[in-house]
Amino acid sequence: MPVDISYYVILSAVLFFIGVAGVILRRNPLIVLMSIELIFNAANLALVAFAREWSNNAGHIFAFLVITVAAAEAAIGLAIVVVVFRRSKNVDVDEVAGLRG
């Protein structure tokens, strides 16, 4: 039974908002990075759903591109987190507040 596209789009919107909430509310940089990945994957889900709706492969290709870039982003992000928190025992973005903001 085909599922209506609106369900996929609503699911992707929910994932997007969970990701945004995670970035804003969570203090652990690893969780923040995971939330950013969630935003990217929400976009992927929407892209693939719309690609099916429009029968346009561009959406699938775009999703693969995003997966690749998100992997690079995660690699660099984890490296930066390691460099920043190598000296301190606990990992918390509130600790990183030398600059005034």
Partner: protein, 479 residues
């Protein structure tokens, strides 16, 4: 079974030749970094990178006058693309002159390679005409910069790197979700497809909104600017100089192409109004916040927020003249801002950047030539004749009044008035008679290369101020 056909021909590859040269030069830099003795590495890396950038800039000029779409509309070459590519190449070249302070000696090859990769991402943005190319260019630009921001032994550099990573990736996520919604509304990833009436207006409006929020963040327009001062202060000086112009030029190219060429005409002005409001907020808030700063890099960060507000304000009403003037002001801003950064580089010691305002106290008596150059750059940023900043602001004022946005012109004048106080605070510090032990000894810079940057910027500002030439034939194309 059909014979295998290469989907893209030589004309496609020739369109991306300039940015390919800039993207491949780092491989040579990294290779030489392995071979050469330690003492020669930094000099060799800077030289090769500069040659690669110059080659890319010259190759880009060859495409002038033959606009065409390469890669099935993914990358559009033309006057608009070429002008932005030249701005990016020039910005990267002048930042490179300051790169004697970038990283430890054993990191210099990698650092300069990352700088060039970041520049190639911005060049991709200059010609990007579909959503995938825009995303790819933006991430190439940003990923290299996240690493560059942390390239310093100061803890604040690592902090800047983390903050930039988290905030900028979130903005990329917003923009990407906006792109997904735009794809859903139009059924195509081409910017040209946005011109047709969308299948779903709700998706289209939401998509445009998220897309513009993402780019407002990259342009650091108020209220999406909070990351800018921290990242500018924490990042090493050459990287700050690079970010202040190259990332802005790349993001501006996308937003201008989007505003001018990719929106259905009757609704376009309504969709873009939030952008002009953000520009107005930036002009005021950037200059007001700059008043309180005591660190030169933070001050230039806030002044940069305001200056980008002026550039975006020139686009209001999306007139052809407004775009030419925006590009003229962007070029003027590049020279004024990089000139100021070059002066800061000349005041830097081995392990300490000369970015505190106290480093400027009495500079007019210690190093008169440097103080005179700095005064000239600040006059430009404040918009006084005979600099290019003055002409640029007059042009923006005239175009925004012509386009029916007189209120933006009014905000621009108020912003300029506030900024004059910001910039002349520094001039006064340089020439005021100070007493007591406050005066520092003259700094012997680690390298004389930034002097070359100061010279180029000063001459360019004077020449552009006396003979203003706004590039013609720069309307962006999407197909």
């Amino acid at each position: 079974m059909p014979p295998f056909v290469m989907p893209f021909g030589t004309s496609d590859w020739s369109a991306v030749l300039p940015l390919s040269v800039v993207a491949l030069t780092p491989l040579l830099v990294l290779l030489l970094d392995l071979i050469l003795p330690k003492a020669m590495r930094r000099g060799a890396a800077v030289t090769i990178a500069a040659l690669g950038l110059i080659a890319g800039g010259l190759l880009a000029l060859q495409g002038w006058g033959h606009p065409f779409a390469a890669f099935g509309g993914g990358f559009v070459n033309g006057g608009f693309t070429i002008v932005f590519e030249e701005v990016i190449v020039a910005g990267a070249l002048i930042s490179l002159l300051l790169a004697t302070h970038l990283g430890r000696d054993d990191q210099s090859g990698g650092a300069i390679a990352l700088l060039l990769w970041s520049a190639s991402g911005a060049m991709l943005l200059a010609g990007a005409a579909n959503l995938m190319t825009i995303f790819l260019g933006l991430e190439l630009l940003s990923l290299a910069l996240y690493c560059l921001c942390g390239l310093s032994s100061r803890p604040s550099a690592r902090e800047a790197s983390l903050k930039y990573l988290i905030l900028s990736s979130t903005a990329s996520g917003f923009m990407l979700y906006g792109m997904a919604l735009l794809f859903g509304a139009t059924g195509s990833v081409q910017l040209a497809a946005l011109l047709a009436p969308p299948a779903s207006t709700t998706l289209f409006t939401l998509g445009c909104g998220l897309f513009m929020i993402g780019f407002a963040f990259k342009l650091s327009l108020v209220p999406f600017h909070v990351w800018t001062p921290d990242v500018y202060e924490g990042a090493p000086l050459p990287v700050t100089a690079f970010m202040s112009i190259v990332t802005k030029a790349g993001a501006l190219a996308v937003i201008a192409r989007f505003a001018y060429a990719a929106l259905p005409q009757p609704q376009a002005q309504a969709i873009l109004i939030p952008l002009w409001i953000l520009a107005a907020l930036s002009m005021i808030a950037g200059n007001v916040a700059a008043l309180a700063q005591t660190d030169m890099k933070r001050l230039l960060a806030y002044s940069g927020i305001a200056q980008l507000g002026y550039v975006v304000a020139a686009l209001a009403g999306t007139t052809a003249l407004g775009l030419r003037y925006a590009i003229f002001y962007l070029i003027a801003y590049m020279f004024m801002n990089l000139g100021a950064f070059a002066v800061v580089a000349l005041l830097s010691r081995e392990h300490e950047e000369g970015s505190r305002l106290s480093a400027f106290a009495g500079l007019g008596y210690r190093q008169p030539a440097l103080a005179a150059a700095m005064t000239f750059f600040l006059m430009g940023l404040a918009g006084l004749p005979p600099t290019a900043g003055f002409i640029g602001k007059i042009l923006i004022l005239s175009s925004s009044v012509d386009a029916g946005y007189a209120w933006l012109a009014g905000v621009l004048i108020v912003g300029t008035a506030i900024s004059a106080y910001v910039y002349f605070k520094i001039v006064r510090a340089m020439y005021a008679r100070t007493t007591g032990a406050d005066i520092q000894r003259a700094v012997k810079p680690a390298s004389l290369l930034p002097w070359l940057g100061v010279g180029i910027c000063a001459v360019a500002i004077l020449v552009l101020g006396l003979y203003p030439v706004a590039p013609s034939d720069v309307l962006p194309l999407v197909k």
